[in-house]
């Protein structure tokens, strides 16, 4: 249920390849561990990631639509999306136009999402609300509903570039929106909290929330993802601690 | 149908003759018009549904009035009226209630000679009667002034250890039964009644049995003072007969007992259990004493309501 993420301007082909290796095989001494769900990169690294992950179950997700600010024209956003999909992205993580949303121009935001969705073709669309900029839980709920109505396959909290990123209350509001949308339409929408989830313990709290809001079926990578980079190593550390009974050091887990 | 005649023993004959003399002079050659003393329920002046009465007599055996001898059905009707009036009275603004209480004082002031005469007729000296009427008027003014203040004194904002705005305010207990004292039939009644109604309660009161005249005239004052119908209901009759109904009626929320009998109070205590009436014993030795002027008297017939609301977005 993990999307391993690297979204730095200083990213290199080498770094992306390392991350992909970690995605396929998280820890050498635990060969039975499953691969992560996806690797999340900028569009220009999609082909690199695609190649590094070939033959594995790991998907490639690309951020698009002038990530992280979304401050560009629809035309540019659509071309970027199209290009990422053509490069082989299985999933597109788009950002909404928060400025327009906060200005009350909901139709604009909605139309934009619908247009990007059309451009995605077979690729899954995750819509990033950037909840840290939406200011109230009411807005977050409104944006969630709007994104789902406009065609999102997933809704996602944050870019990771803005604080606060994912929080438990924000995620609960979005999970509740997904549940109500399901009851209203019969359609299942996925959830991805991203940024700020660094420890296994916190991740567990998110999973409890998913379990108690959306039940069994959402507890799968098809419907729930963590967007995180450092969480993986803490998970590994806790797994090894469970197996050995000894508290672990980060020195024994690769930083990729 | 007359049940009993009440005579007044302790009273100076000279005061009575003075009062009568005054009346005699005024009427000169004409036959004066006597007043029928009625009761006061729901802003109207009926006689007792039972048709019963008792005759008040002066020490000389002169009949003063045929006073209504109220039945439990009169009491029931009064409670119905009081219940119907209570919420609206409670939701009047504090400012408005204060103005109305002050208006009662104004009306009483305007009719002070009548009240003095009635007190004298019922056995007061004229000095005592004057003092009683004047203190009564001033006491109404005193409680009128509390109407928009007691809430500020007794309510609170509570600094709870969580993110909530929390405050406690007073609300009236509801319908209050008042058993007025036998002596100081005007001052005692007003001292006990004013804190009840200024706090937004409605009231059914039983006047002094031996000295009921002022209470009936006071009803006329209330009637011309913008006090909404049903807020105050005034019955006359025998306390022994009505006591158990006052204290056992399930739609009465509190009973204020201003008499001086331990046995009567015990009966009230017993009957009050049925619906957990608040029972207040207010029997000061001296109705002119400072303890009769206190906002804590208002508090006797108030409930505290605490409201919580989260602070957040």
């Amino acid at each position: 249920m993990l999307d391993l993420t690297t979204l730095d301007a200083k990213d290199t082909d080498g770094k992306v390849k390392q991350l992909c290796r970690k995605a396929i095989r998280p820890h050498d001494s635990l060969p039975d561990l499953p691969s992560v769900a996806a690797v999340c990169v900028y569009p220009n690294f999609v082909s690199t990631a695609k190649e590094a992950l070939s033959g594995s179950s790991v998907k490639v997700a690309a951020v698009a639509t002038a990530f992280p600010s979304g401050m560009s024209t629809l035309k540019v956003k659509l071309r970027e999306t199209k290009w990422a999909v053509n490069q082989g992205a299985d999933e597109i993580d788009m950002v909404i136009s928060r400025g327009k949303f906060l200005a009350g121009e909901y139709d604009f935001v909605s139309d934009e999402i619908a247009a990007v969705k059309e451009e995605c073709g077979p690729a899954h669309l995750k819509v990033i609300l950037e909840t840290g900029e939406l200011s109230t839980l009411d807005n977050i709920r409104k944006a969630s509903d709007l994104a789902m109505e406009a065609g999102a396959d997933f809704i996602k909290t944050s870019t990771g570039k803005i604080q606060p990123a994912a929080t438990l209350p924000v995620t609960l509001v979005m999970l509740e929106a997904i549940r109500d949308f399901y009851y209203r339409t019969g359609k299942k929408i996925g959830m991805k909290p991203a940024g700020g989830i660094a420890t296994a313990k916190l991740a567990l709290q998110y999973l409890v929330m998913v379990r108690e809001t959306l039940g069994q079926e959402w507890l799968s990578p098809d419907w729930f993802r963590f967007g995180a980079s450092v969480l993986a190593n803490d998970l590994l550390r806790q797994i090894v601690k469970e197996q050995t009974g000894v508290y672990q050091s980060f020195d024994y887990f690769t930083k990729d | 149908m007359t049940d009993k005649t009440i005579k007044f023993e302790k009273r100076s004959a000279s005061d009575e003759s003075k009062a009568i003399e005054g009346v005699e002079q005024a009427k000169s050659s004409r036959l004066n018009v006597l007043k029928t003393y009625k009761i006061y329920i729901d802003g109207k002046f009926p006689r007792s549904e039972s048709g019963r009465y008792y005759t008040l007599e002066s020490a000389k055996g002169k009949a003063i009035a045929n006073v209504s001898l109220c039945s439990r059905k009169d009491f029931r009707d009064a409670v119905t009226a009081a219940r119907a009036a209570q919420l609206k009275w409670a939701s009047a603004t504090a400012y408005n209630r204060g103005q109305i209480l002050y208006r009662i004082a104004e009306m009483l002031e305007a009719r002070r000679t009548q009240f003095i005469e009635e007190l004298v007729l019922q056995g007061s000296t004229s000095e005592a009667a004057q003092a009683e009427v004047e203190t009564s008027i001033d006491r109404l003014v005193y409680f009128a002034g509390w109407s928009d203040k007691y809430q500020q004194i007794f309510s609170s904002v509570n600094p709870v250890a969580s993110s909530h705005f929390n405050f406690s305010i007073l609300e009236p207990t509801g319908v209050v039964g008042l058993l007025a004292p036998e002596e100081n039939s005007l001052l005692g009644l007003i001292s006990a009644l004013a804190p009840i109604i200024v706090g937004g309660n409605s009231c059914v009161l039983l006047a002094s049995g031996s000295k009921p005249l002022c209470s009936v005239s006071f009803a006329e004052v209330l009637n011309s003072s913008d006090v909404p119908a049903g807020v105050v209901n005034i019955l006359t009759g025998y306390r022994k007969e009505l006591l158990s109904h006052f204290s056992s009626h399930m739609d009465v929320n509190a009973v204020v007992y201003a008499g001086d009998s331990d046995d009567e109070f015990k009966t009230i205590q017993q009957n009050a259990v049925s619906n957990l009436k608040r029972i207040i014993r207010f029997s000061p030795k001296n109705w002119y004493s400072p303890e009769c002027e206190s906002p804590y008297r208002i508090l006797d017939c108030q409930e505290t309501k605490t409201t919580w609301h989260p602070i957040g977005n």
Partner: protein, 501 residues
């Protein structure tokens, strides 16, 4: 025609939608450790600063309702023991407590509060063992609040002149206090702290099914060097409590419990000058308007009725839902109930613990049958229940009429009756249509409406967009047959003082 069929089919599919909460993602047990808990085999009465054997030598068992096992034996106080305790309290009042400075009095209370905090975990575990309440609640609500009551009232001891404008406050004397089993230590603190702060001494009678934390509190009094006799604790059942209320040298009775017993106590005080406060039963309305934040309201409803297994006098046991949102809200409520965990009170994940006693369980179960016989629809989630112990699944009744007994009578268990309403006038009328008047809840996002509704509900505590919140600074108590007098806040001192000008 085709369109109609399509619509029908769509509606069918939608109504069949159900979130699946029976998952293979199970929670592991997460028990709170009970290793460090020190319990004696046998507890005597706490009189005059010492634990003394009851005069008649009788003891009764207090059991763990989650396991039906004995926790300890506890002395059964009789009339003679009550008399000894009252004498001790009178003597302590006259010789010590009314003589020492108010500031010193306050300092004792501060000291007690601190020791309670130091022993918080131990007290929480014992509370959950003895009462069956979830450890999450005893740890986060009961024990911290109990200590907070001592802290809050401690500061009043030397400031009483500011509490009653224009008047001087004097202590009354000896207070007899009788407390219930739903919040054993919290109720003890709630009663003892203001009594002591105002300068009175106390004889306390804890509930017979939950005496242990009060006895641990006695140990704390010893450790705090509270002068002997200032607080005396006499355990026992109803007869012990009756002896306390009857005792001629008691000046004030404070009782928390059922309305029936409250009336018996009021009756026993007829002809005396004893002051009294009563905190009694309730059947509180929790009202959900269509403009409420529904998911928040669901949490509030759950907390309102299932907190402490519904053994809460102010529980929001009558739910009124505005028609237009009723279907949606009840579905949300049922979904939420599916995820409640019923079981071991000491497990940190437990939402609903054990019913306090067998007798209480039988009472609740009788209402579960009555509800169905009256024609209401019963819903219970399919949660697992432990084999031994007293348990009740969280229960929801729909199709309830105002006249149903489950909508009129206090059940004191995890049972919620739901009615719908259309207009504001209608719901106010229904909410107030009860002899009780303890509490109420209102859920709406409209500020003006909040205050309009809360001011129209005839009850002592109103929660708007929240429920079951308590604080030592916030007065608590009922209108009508839910009691008289307030506890908590400055108003809570009033019943413990005599005012002079």
């Amino acid at each position: 025609m085709k369109k109609k069929q399509k619509m029908q089919k769509k509606a069918e599919i939608k109504s069949a939608l159900k979130i699946n909460f029976s998952t293979d993602w199970k929670y592991d047990p997460a028990p709170e450790s009970a290793d460090h808990i020190k319990l004696e085999k046998k507890y005597d009465l706490f009189i005059n600063g010492k634990f003394v054997a009851p005069k008649k030598g009788k003891y009764f068992e207090t059991i763990n309702p989650a396991k039906e096992t004995k926790l300890a034996e506890v002395a059964e106080g009789t009339e003679e023991d009550i008399d000894t305790a009252v004498r001790a309290a009178r003597s302590a009042y006259e010789k010590i407590w009314s003589k020492i400075s108010a500031r010193e009095r306050g300092k004792y209370l501060f000291r007690i509060a601190r020791i309670m905090q130091e022993k918080a975990r131990e007290l929480a575990v014992i509370e959950s063992l003895d009462s069956g309440k979830p450890i999450r609640e005893s740890k986060t609500v009961d024990i911290p609040l109990a200590a907070a009551h001592f802290f809050y009232n401690a500061g009043w001891a030397d400031k009483l002149d500011y509490a009653f404008p224009g008047r001087k406050a004097h202590s009354i004397g000896v207070a007899g206090q009788i407390i219930p089993w739903n919040f054993p230590l919290l109720m003890a603190a709630w009663k003892i702290a203001p009594a002591l702060a105002a300068g009175n001494t106390v004889v306390l009678k804890p509930a017979e099914t939950t005496p242990l934390t009060a006895l641990k509190l006695a140990e704390i009094f010893q450790q705090a060097d509270l002068p002997p006799g200032v607080v005396n604790i006499v355990t026992g059942a109803g007869a012990t409590g009756a002896a306390l209320t009857r005792h001629p040298d008691i000046d004030k009775i404070a009782f928390t419990g059922s309305t029936d017993i409250g009336k018996l106590i009021m009756k026993s005080l007829v002809g005396t000058n004893k002051k009294y406060t009563l905190e009694l039963g309730g059947k509180s309305a929790n009202i959900i308007f269509e403009d409420a934040a529904l998911d928040q309201a669901v949490e509030g409803i759950i907390n309102g009725i299932f907190f402490n297994q519904g053994h809460v006098c102010c529980a929001g046991s009558r739910l009124y839902v505005q028609e237009s949102i009723a279907k949606n809200l009840i579905r949300k409520l049922k979904d939420r109930m599916e995820t409640l965990i019923v079981g071991d009170p000491l497990d940190k994940n437990t939402d609903i613990g054990a019913i306090n006693s067998k007798a209480q369980l039988e009472k609740i179960q009788s209402y579960l049958t009555i509800g169905i016989e009256e024609g209401a629809q019963r819903f219970q989630p399919a949660c697992d229940l432990p084999k031994s112990g007293y348990w009740c699944r969280p229960t929801l009744f729909t199709d309830v009429a105002q006249s149903h007994r489950i909508a009129q009578e206090e059940i004191f268990g995890p049972v919620l009756s739901v009615q719908t309403f259309r207009t504001v006038e209608e719901v106010i009328e229904k909410a107030n249509n009860t002899p009780y008047g303890l509490a109420g809840g209102v859920w709406t996002d409209k500020g003006a409406k909040v205050f309009s509704i809360t001011s129209q509900i005839r009850a002592g505590v109103l929660w708007a967009n929240t429920y079951n919140k308590f604080d030592p600074t916030a007065p608590f108590g009922g209108y009508k047959e839910s009691g008289m007098g307030r506890e908590g806040g400055v108003h809570g001192l009033y019943p413990y003082v005599e005012l002079a000008s």
